[in-house]
Amino acid sequence: MTLQVTNLSINHDAIEAVQDLTFSINEGELAAVIGANGAGKTTLLRALSGLKNPKSGSATWRDNSMIGKRPEDLVRMGILHVSDGKTVIPELTVKENLALGGLWRKDKTDVAKATTEVLELFPKLGQRLAQRADTLSGGERQMLAIGRCLVARPELLMLDEPSLGLAPIIIEQIFTALNDLRKRTGLTVLLVEQNAMSALEIADKGIIINLGKLVAQGAARDLINDPTLQAAYLGY
């Protein structure tokens, strides 16, 4: 077990956004967390990346606790979070946004190499290096947000609804790029999505949550074909 979440509960004041959640992911797996709006997906990722303190429970990455650490420390453990809303820094250029991801790293040669690899993965970014990030389209922004994390050579990459608001062809591009990347590098991915079909297609494992609680988890292929889940949670 590389990522182990055990009995995790997270509150927003009186709202119990995540309740007693337990799941795990193996090294190199791509796991999709599926759930409707308000299911607690964002809250879960914010707790796993140090932005929010959970009420109780534990989360470990390769047996190191992820709880009570600051985001910048988790980044140094190889845990990167692409938060919701295509989060780039609009006032900075594309090049600066990418550079930001590698700022903390000592191995500048490898930062340069990783940046080159990002530009090969998302060639559109290469044509826009000198532009401010707020001139990018939604899809390009999402690529930039992911690219910024890749410059840090993540070992666990967590993405919060990267497909939201994007055209199907762009979603396809981004998901394919992610899938190729993790197969090539052995990166472990926790992908949070409402877009169940696209996510489960590339995922090894699926975790379905509803109103903060675990509904089902298992092999992605089994979940896709489960008729009761299809009707209730997968939206087709």
């Binding site: 990346s49 140090g50 932005l51 600051r70 985001p71 910048e72 980044v75 140094r76 990167l80 979070h81 938060s83 989060t87 780039v88 820094i89 609009p90 006032e91 900075l92 600066e96 550079a99 930001l100 991801g101 700022l103 903390w104 790293r105 401010r132 707020d134 001139t135 990018l136 389209s137 910024r148 994390c149 840090a152």
Partner: protein, 297 residues
């Protein structure tokens, strides 16, 4: 000649306003705090510079000493005051106002301390170069070697700022932490540390302004209060977010006030600063260099 000379004097005093404005904008950008204590931080630093001058008679030693003092005081203000407040107060109207009140308190505290140590009487120290105006043929203009030095020092500071902010990793971290602290954190930036560095740089910059302005005025526990106000006016003219805006705002204000002092009335300078400010805000509500927004931002 009179016009040119007035203009030059304006650039000289404007350079000092620009430095003060830079200090205020830096703190505003890094922690969203309107820092009234900046006048206190600068005055304490300037008194320490004064101490060095009275002992060594060396202005060029006093400047770096004041800068280091300013940086340390700035960093301490952030660590001891702003950080704990931000940690404890998460929401509500108090969130915005508490740090501002805290900086007012710090301003009062520093003034009292300075007054206790050095007394309330006016101190004076000499400029390192002549304060007599340049002479061309038979005319002597008010603009002196020292004014030239002020402008030159301000330019050096601004070039360093431009280099640090645009060309170094620290500058990138400072900008990222200022614009989007959460994303900066998720990118691995140690935002708390970077903010403290922002306060330190601001403290050093305010100290330079204090050490440069004092030979032309005099030193007392509240002798930099007017400079604080003019620094704020400059910063707001420049849009409060922009470092270039702070510099341009300071120069506009300096030149504007010099013209009014020379051609209208010396008693109008202070209210005129606000007239300039309000006129600019009516024409451009975000200030001259207010943040541009791009696509759907």
């Amino acid at each position: 000649m009179r016009l040119l000379s007035t203009f030059l004097i304006g650039v000289s005093s404007g350079s000092i306003y620009s430095l003060m404005a830079l200090a205020l904008v830096l703190v505003w950008r890094s922690t969203r705090v309107v820092n009234f204590a900046q006048a206190g931080q600068a005055i304490a630093s300037t008194y320490l510079g004064y101490l060095v001058i009275t002992h060594t008679n060396n202005y060029w030693l006093a400047l770096p000493v004041a800068m280091v003092a300013g940086a340390v005081i700035g960093a301490l203000a952030d660590i001891a005051l702003i950080r704990p407040l931000n940690r404890r107060i998460k929401s509500g109207p108090v969130l915005e106002i508490a740090p501002v009140i805290a900086t007012l308190g710090l301003l009062g505290l520093i003034r009292s301390l300075v007054g206790m140590i050095w007394g309330g009487d006016l101190k004076q120290y000499r400029a390192p170069v002549s304060i007599n105006g340049f002479t061309f043929g038979h005319t002597t203009i008010p603009f002196s070697r020292f004014n030239l030095l002020i402008v030159f020092t301000a330019i050096v500071v601004m070039v360093i700022f431009a280099f640090v902010f645009q060309r170094t990793g620290l500058g990138l971290a400072l900008r990222a932490a200022a614009f989007q602290p959460e994303i900066a954190r998720l990118a691995g930036v140690r935002v708390d540390l970077v903010r403290t560095i922002g306060w330190a740089i601001a403290g050093a910059t305010g100290a330079i302004a204090g050490v440069l302005v004092t030979p032309s005025t005099s030193l007392s526990p509240n002798s930099l209060d007017l400079l604080l106000v003019l620094g704020f006016v400059s910063a707001v003219i420049g849009g409060l977010e922009s470092l270039i805006g702070a510099v341009i705002g300071g120069l506009i204000l300096g030149i504007g006030l010099a013209l009014i002092l020379e051609y209208v009335s010396t008693s109008l300078a202070f209210p005129a600063a606000f007239v300039v400010l309000i006129l600019i805000l009516i024409v451009k509500p975000a200030g001259l260099f207010g943040m541009k927004r791009g696509r759907d931002a």
